[in-house]
Every structure is written in structure tokens, then in C-alpha cells.
Symmetry: C2
Subunit: 233 residues, 2 copies
DNA sequence: CATTGTGAACTTGTTCACAGCT
DNA sequence: AGCTGTGAACAAGTTCACAATG
């Protein structure tokens, strides 16, 4: 079986995770009026190495010109297409606490392919109130209006998160962004990504502690002065 | 040179990133009154495979008992120690917009080893106001009070983020959690972790689109009925 | 004898070196 | 001449199979 036209040339997960970053950098270049960029410069802007960038882009096909670089507009389109961003995706935010509020008001979604279309809560006190121009609805109402391809953002307390996930998957949602600090159990085929603030801080704490120990080692070895000098450029 | 006591047996990054999840699961077990757990059960709770969990824990040392499992309290302590969570870490949140507000009010930090100690903004209108029980201060004031080991959370618009990062690193901060959708340039030795909401959604969009295409393929191949039956268990 | 801990096999991701184009 | 695209080497991470052991 050969590669049919339009067949998924499968792109490594690590590459997919970087495409949004490239896209953002490309959009910034467009805004700056730059329309051709080398892998070296784009890599710099995206915080990766040029050789890795080229390998990533090679998975999408050959859109660069040797000796010249990449056409910014063309590459943007190509990446956007690959990520499925030709049209906007509808997003439902569930859980209207502090975080839910902030997410509802966050302007960064609209410019990057997402339309917050529904705000959901289970508290009757909250249902019906208007947040950031949208009326908060309950699950039953969401179940009636939710279309295909809806992306759910869970911003509830962790105790409620699994129940919310169950309800969402039952109504056909296949993509979930989970802000609740807990592991979600979902049926196969449902993709969950998590954002866990405390976890991120704990990872930083590990490195902070390690850095400290290294400083101790350095001091013991008398390297400290050299390091300070270096830090001062 | 042999492994001195207390020397960094270096733990793989991938393992470090999972330790917080294990810790959370262990704390939940403690709360439930369970004091011994098998790798199988803990892995389930943490959303990983038992064999991977055991490999991860093996990097910390041997704290399990063969034929029995792990002592929940002991393992919790061990992981907390490894992450440097014996004492709380001070956190400064910079940028008091929507997101900054929500983060300042977020209760999930305190219970997991972090104390939000400073709220920072550059707007004179905002400086001096009280948010979640803390008075917002300016950078100059932060520079005077900030001690060693401070963790900075950047919740400013992307245009301000690099400047903030520069100021923070200049005052000795070595750990940054960046919520602004941009790449930060920092000196060597400074650890940056980023949380980018739109990026996460774009990764989900990729999988959502791919799932859709696969459904199309399946339908074309007449596999759809089988899949539906399977999904219904 | 159930369960941990681990070398070895495998898979995925990154870097290097350089051939291939324009 | 300059920059992309890519196979080959290397490194990191995951899974497997099973020996070790309380």
C-alpha cells in the first residue's frame, strides 16, 4: 500500500507540539513586514535549534527554498492547515470560578483559531449570568447545542473534574484541556491535555533546589568567583 | 570518582516531570487512609504504566517492599524531599490582569508547597491596591524585598514579558513560569517553563482534525459500525 | 508468591554532517 | 555561496522479560 494523496504522513508528537510555536513566530514576522525567513532566524524566534526546526518542517513537506529560506506567508498557511486551523474551533469552558472567569475573558484564543462559544456551570446561581458577553448555561443545555468538534476546557475543582469529563465524552467531545489538578480517566480516542500550575512550580522547585546544591558545590570548589564574573558578562 | 553520599544521582527530566503527579496521587491515598500501595495501583491513579512508575521510582532509590508495595507516607516524603518541598517556596506573580488576578486567588498553590508572597504590576493605578489579601507592589519595591529562591510567574501581555523576565533575572530570579504566549530569552542557568493555552488548544485541534479524517477513512472502509459497537463497550 | 527493581530491547527524539538545490 | 533537506549517529525515554526478595 503506497502513500495515497492526502494520506496522513504521520508527524511525530514532538513536532506537532512545536508547530504552534513556529506559527506564532511566523505571524509575528508577518506583522513585522518580513516575508522570507531562514531556518536560523525562525529557530531563534521560536527558541529551538535551526537543525531541529528544519527536521520538523521536513515532516510537512518541502516548503523552503535552498539558498534563500522560507516564505513566511506560505509556511504559515501550511502549518495552520496541518493544525486544522483553517476554520475556528468552538470551545466550551466548564467551571466558572476564578480561573474559568479569567479564561472566558482571555483574548488570546480568538486570534489563534478558537472561539469560546459556551460557558458552563452546574450552580443554578451562576447559570444565566453573563460573563464576558456570554450567558452561562448548564450541562443539559450544552448537550443540546454542542456540535461536532467541540473542545472542552475543564476549569472546575478537581472533585468535579472526572464527572464533567464523563458528561463531556458522553456528549461526543473528543478533546479536553484539563486545568483541574487530577488525572482524568477517558475512553480511548479522547485526547486530554493538562495544564497543572502546581506541577509546573514543583518542577521549577526541583531545578531551583538543584541549582542551589550546585552553587554549594561550586563554592566548595572555589569556582564561585568565576561564575559571578561570567554572569556579569 | 565514586558517588558521594548526598550527591546528585541525576534523575531524568521525564521522571522529574512525573514526580509531582505521583506526589499528588500519594497525598490522595493518605487522605483516603491507605498506607501501602502497589506500583500497579499507584500507576493507575497517576495515569501511567506500572513498569514506568517503578523505573521512575528506581531513580530515587529502593523504597518499595517486594511482594508488598510502597509505604505511602515514606514515598511521599521521599518524593517531596527530592522536589525540594520540605519548605515552602515564595512566589511572585507579575502582571495583575485577568489571569494574574485568578492566579493570585488560586488556592491550589498553598497546599502544594508554594506561598504567593508578592503581586507585582507596573501600572501606578494598580500598585497599592489589595488583591486576595496582598498589596500590589512595583518592580523597584520587589527588587528590595526579593530573597533567594524566589519563583516568578509572568502573567503579563506578551509585549511586556521579555522586559519583565530581564528585570527578574537581573534581581537574581532563576525560575520562571511564563504564561505569556511568547518565547523568553534568558541567561544560562535560568529555568523557564511555559504554559501556553492557545498552544495546547492547537495541539488538541490537530488531533481533533486527525480523528475526523480517520473517521472518514473508517467510514470509507466500512469499519464504522464496528467502532461504534466497540465504543458502546 | 506477589510484587519490586533492572538490564536489555526497542522506540522516539535530537544532533550531526553533508549532499542537493537555487 | 548560502541555505535547505535528510540519512546516519547519537541520546533519551519507554517497554519488556525476568531475576531478586521480603
Amino acid at each position: 500500500m503506497t502513500q495515497a494523496p492526502g494520506t496522513r504522513r504521520d508527524i511525530p508528537d514532538a513536532t506537532v507540539a512545536r508547530l504552534p510555536v513556529y506559527l506564532r513566530a511566523l505571524r509575528a514576522l508577518t506583522a513585522a513586514g518580513i516575508d522570507v525567513v531562514s531556518s536560523e532566524d525562525l529557530a531563534q524566534a521560536a527558541g529551538v535549534r535551526s537543525t531541529g526546526l528544519r527536521k520538523d518542517l521536513s515532516h510537512l513537506g518541502s516548503y523552503g527554498v535552498r539558498g534563500v529560506g522560507y516564505d513566511v506567508a506560505r509556511l504559515s498557511d501550511e502549518i495552520a492547515r496541518e493544525l486544522g486551523l483553517q476554520h475556528d474551533w468552538a470551545v466550551a469552558i466548564v467551571g466558572m470560578g476564578n480561573l474559568g472567569h479569567a479564561l472566558a475573558a482571555y483574548s488570546g484564543f480568538a486570534t489563534r483559531g478558537f472561539k469560546v462559544r459556551w460557558l458552563v456551570d452546574e450552580d443554578p446561581e451562576v447559570i444565566g449570568t453573563v460573563i464576558a458577553g456570554l450567558t452561562v448555561i448548564g450541562f443539559d443545555e450544552l448537550a443540546m447545542v454542542a456540535g461536532d468538534g467541540l473542545i472542552a476546557v475543564i476549569a472546575t475543582p478537581p472533585t468535579a473534574a472526572q464527572d464533567v469529563a464523563d458528561q463531556m465524552t458522553r456528549m461526543g467531545v473528543r478533546s479536553i484541556l484539563n486545568f483541574a489538578p487530577c488525572v482524568l480517566q477517558v475512553p480511548e480516542g479522547v485526547e486530554v491535555r493538562k495544564v497543572d500550575l502546581a506541577t509546573e512550580l514543583q518542577i521549577l522547585a526541583f531545578h531551583e533546589q538543584r541549582g542551589r546544591d550546585e552553587d554549594d558545590d561550586a563554592a566548595r570548589l572555589g569556582v564561585h568567583a568565576a561564575r559571578v564574573a561570567e554572569a556579569a558578562r
